[in-house]
Each structure stands twice: as C-alpha cells, then as structure tokens.
C-alpha cells in the first residue's frame, strides 16, 4: 500500500498537464499511471503538425507537444509509472494498479484525477454487414501501425467517417504511396475540422462522398472491397444506389467514446450526451475528490483546450488536497439550451468561483450568422456573434465571475439565437 496526495490516471496530454499544474500549486506527492511504454498518450502517434497554437504560439507535431510536457514533468520530479494499468478506482479513492514487475498494488490517494482519454468506435459499434476479412481497422489503429510500429497497413484505402483522425490518415496513407480512393460520410457535412478537409483531402485529390454509407464488406482472407450506398435524410441506405468500391483496407473514423469504465466503478455520475463525467466548476465529478479532464470528460478537437481544461483540474485537485475547495454553498446548474448539445462544466458552486468561468460547448447543427447567448436565470448576460457554428468545432465562452456571483440564483443557460420570424 502506497500513499499519495494525487493519483493521475493516464499520462496523455490531460494527465501530464493536470499533474504539472497540481505540482505548481504546492502538492508534492503526485503519481501518474500510464498503461503504454511511454508517456504522451495518443500524441505520440499524431506525427502531423498543428498542435500547440494556443499554448506555445507555434505549430508542433504531437510527439513534440508531448515531449515538452514530459520534460516539464521530469524536471518537476513528478513520479510516474509506465507499462502500468489502473484496474480499479474506489469511491474512497483507493486506486488499484497492475504491472509486470510489481504485480497488483494499491494506492491510497487524497484526490484522483481521471485522464484516461477516449477510444475509437469500431466496426462492431456501427453494424456493417458482410464478411470479416483482414484490412478493416480503426483509423487510430492504422495510425499507430504506420507511424510508430512501422507497418504499412494497405495499398488501396477507403475511409469511412470524416472524423479528424480519418482525414489525417487519408493524407498519411497517400503520402506513403497508397491509393486513397475516397472518404465516405453519412452526414451532408464533415465531422472533422475544415482545415483537415482542405489540407488532407483536397491537397491529394481525395474525394469525399457525403450522404453515403457503407452497407457491405467483401472478401474472405483479405478485404476485397466495400459496398457504398446513398442515404436518405434519416441516414437510411436507399435501395438501388449501391456501388462496389474495390479496396484492401477500410479505415473507420466514426466517433470517439470517452473511456469511463474506471469512473463508473468509482461511482462517478456520467452525462449521457458527452459520455463523460458530470463535473462542477473545479472539474470535480459527483464523487468528492475525484476530478476528470480531457477526452475522458468530453471529446475535444484541439489538444490545446485539453491542456487548458486539465490545468484547471490539476489546480483544483491541489486546492482540494489542501482543504481550500468549498464543498458546500450555492449550486448553480449550467444548461444546454436550444441549438446546444452540451455544456461543460455542468454545475458551478458560487463559493469556489475565483477565476473566470469558462464554458465549453458543442452545437447540434451548422448555423450561420447567429448569436451564442448566455442567460443567467433567464436574462441574457452575454451575446457572442458567430459567423459560423459547427458541431465539429467546440466553442468556448468566458464569463466574468463577478457578474455570475452578483446575478446567478438558479441556472445559467447557453443557447443559439432563434430564427427571427
């Protein structure tokens, strides 16, 4: 049995930023648990650039972004264990870990930061009919094979889903000499960032087939092709529009799911919309002293926002350990109004509101020339004009704590301005 002030589960961008920030706020006994051989998480396989514009004001690759945080962690002498799996977190913050050298051990923590990230939806989650040949895998699995392990996964590629990893892998496979035939997307718009559509697809003349789906997988040993079909407005395949596309590789980029098995075992309440924990302004979950940040909380599109959010979790976990976080007081609910799918955090405890209140949210559709409206108890307190709002791009709104403290009694709502009649 070990004793630590804070145990951070996951050594990716969220865990690294949270651990460093907790240390910066005066907590010394911190342990980071990482299941991979090295720290850095998924950043280590994201060898493309574009990370760090917010945090470092320059464009870094994933491994570079990770290495800066890893060096900082080591400089601050924060302890970490790699090749180690956290297998259980109890509601009273007893963390069970396991590795090959030490077997199973238990750690008693004063606070736990959940930073396990997310995983990809796979073929089983989207029910594509057909055979089960080799060559069908998630885009992220292919990314690890190609960029880290050094295996080229195929020669003729179709990508299903236009999530960012799928788009990035379309370019990567094209650069490595594969024929990338098309990206198939069920919706009429992309699930990824616009700049990825331009720099990953248009640069390489890779077509994207919107409002199409994959209805069949062909091939016995190795994938020989897929059957694509148009879909109607309810995303149902339209009979008679099927078309065979030959390929030896199908990469799936059909969504990410926060990896919350440990959170659930710890009794943490989850939000059915985000798939992550319900948290307050301190990034604290429904279980006192257990915090969550990064993609395990809600899926982000920029790592910079993961870092910012995780610093908040780290700072507040340190406050909690030092007894500076108020557990009681006035609780204000934060609600997603019309046009908004979700807002994180879900609650704010007014007594803890020291810094600005930062709200992260996603909308439910594409909107042009609309105002994002924040209401406190039904009264508008902030209106931000947006030329374009897209489900694929997360929005961030900052509120002045003084204004929230002065006005809020019941709830804060974020909504998109309704159509003017």
């Amino acid at each position: 049995m070990y004793d630590f002030d804070i145990v951070v589960v996951g050594g990716g961008p969220a865990g690294l930023a949270a651990a460093i920030e907790a240390k910066n706020n005066g907590v010394d006994r911190i342990l980071v648990i990482e299941r991979d051989r090295e720290l850095g998480g998924i950043l280590q396989q994201c060898i493309h650039n574009g990370f760090g514009l917010q945090i470092f004001k320059e464009e870094l690759t994933g491994p570079e972004y990770a290495e800066r945080f890893i060096l900082e962690l080591q400089k601050k002498e924060i302890m970490y264990k790699t090749d180690t799996m956290a297998i259980h977190v109890s509601p009273d913050k007893l963390v069970t870990i396991m590795n090959a050298a030490e077997g199973i051990s238990h750690i008693r923590a004063k606070a736990v930061i959940l930073a396990m990230g997310c995983r990809e939806r796979a073929r089983g989650a989207i029910n594509i009919s057909g055979t089960r040949p080799a060559g069908v895998m998630t885009a992220g699995a292919a990314q690890r094979f190609v960029n880290m392990e050094g295996y080229m996964v195929g020669k003729e590629v179709v990508i299903f889903g236009s999530g960012d990893i799928g788009l990035i892998m379309a370019r990567r496979m094209a650069l490595e000499g594969a024929a990338v035939k098309m990206v198939v997307e069920r919706k009429p718009y992309s699930a990824g960032l616009t700049r990825n559509i331009v720099q990953c697809l248009e640069d390489y003349d890779i077509p994207i087939n919107y409002t199409h789906t994959i209805v069949g997988i062909k091939g016995r040993e190795r994938l020989e092709g897929v059957v694509i079909s148009k879909v109607d407005s309810k995303k149902r395949p339209i009979a008679g529009t099927e078309e065979f596309v030959s390929c030896d590789t199908l990469l799936l980029s059909v969504g990410l799911i926060p990896e919350n098995e440990l959170s659930e075992a710890a009794g943490v309440k989850l939000d059915p919309v985000t798939g992550g924990a319900v948290v307050n302004e301190a990034m604290e979950t429904s279980v006192e002293g257990i915090f969550a940040c990064g993609n395990v909380l809600h899926v982000h599109d920029l790592v910079d926002y993961v870092t910012l959010e995780s610093r908040k979790a780290g700072k507040n976990a340190a406050r909690y350990v030092k007894g500076l976080l108020e557990g009681e007081g006035t609780i204000i609910e934060i609600r997603a109004g019309s046009g908004i799918r979700y807002v994180v955090p879900h609650f704010v405890r007014l007594e803890n509101l020291k810094d600005e209140l930062e709200l992260y949210m996603r909308c439910d559709d594409i909107y042009n020339d609309k105002k994002l409206i924040v209401k406190i108890d039904g009264k508008s307190v902030k209106e931000v004009y947006k030329r374009r709002l897209m489900p694929s791009e997360m929005e961030r709104v900052k509120l002045d704590p003084k204004e929230v403290l002065r006005k809020a009694k019941g709830s804060i709502t974020v909504e998109i301005e309704k159509e003017v009649q």
């Binding site: 060898i47 650039n49 870094l60 690759t61 960029n147 392990e149 050094g150 616009t194 248009e202």
Partner: protein, 131 residues
Amino acid sequence: MQKKEMICIVCPLGCQLEVAEDSRAEKGYKVDGNRCKRGTEYGIKEMSDPTRVVTSTVRLKGAYLRRLPVRSDGPVPKKLVFECMKRIAEAEVQAPVRMGDVIIENILDTGINIIASKSMQPLQPLTAISP
C-alpha cells in the same frame, strides 16, 4: 487567365474563395469571397507559392520503436512534398536521438532541414530474469 476556387482555412469560418490572376491588382491576384483581409493573403499565397510543412517518419534502429517521427523545420513548396517523401524514405537513424536533431540537411536545396520530432533512448539490452 488562371482562376481557382478554394476554401480559406485561416479560421473556422471557411470562406469559399475565388482567386484569379489580375494584372491590375497589387500582388497580381484578385481574391473574392473572403470576409476578412487574412483571406486575401491566404488566397494569394495558395495561388502563387503554396507551401506545406512535411511530417513523416524515418527508419529507426536500436530503439523500442521502428520509426522516428520527423518534420521539416519550415514550409517547403507544395510541389516538392512527394520528392521530400522519397528522400525521407531513404533515411535511417540510430538511437539515441534528440528532438530537434537534424536528420536530413537542406533537403532538395530548399534551405529546409528535416528534423527529429521526438527523442528516442537506445534500447536497454535484455537481461535474463532470475527466478
């Protein structure tokens, strides 16, 4: 006259640009469809001198992974991207490597280097585990 449609990627707005050669314009191109002046700059750059940062991997020996991620330390002309990939494919590196080490100097005489984007420790020799 050369004319091209493109989506501006400077910000999330994604303006649909139309960039056309225009001898009367200051920089030789006229940009339409943009909603701010950064769109003009982007459109002209994409038309006259498109560049990209190249990121890839090289063969790595003596480390626990077989690939080392690399990138160009500045943008290279877009038309040279595939030529750069060929040179990168020929390179091989022995661990240890430090982030920022130059892997290929002055690739294709562009003045741009290909650098390591990750540090890699040498593999520790395996020692038998005694029972």
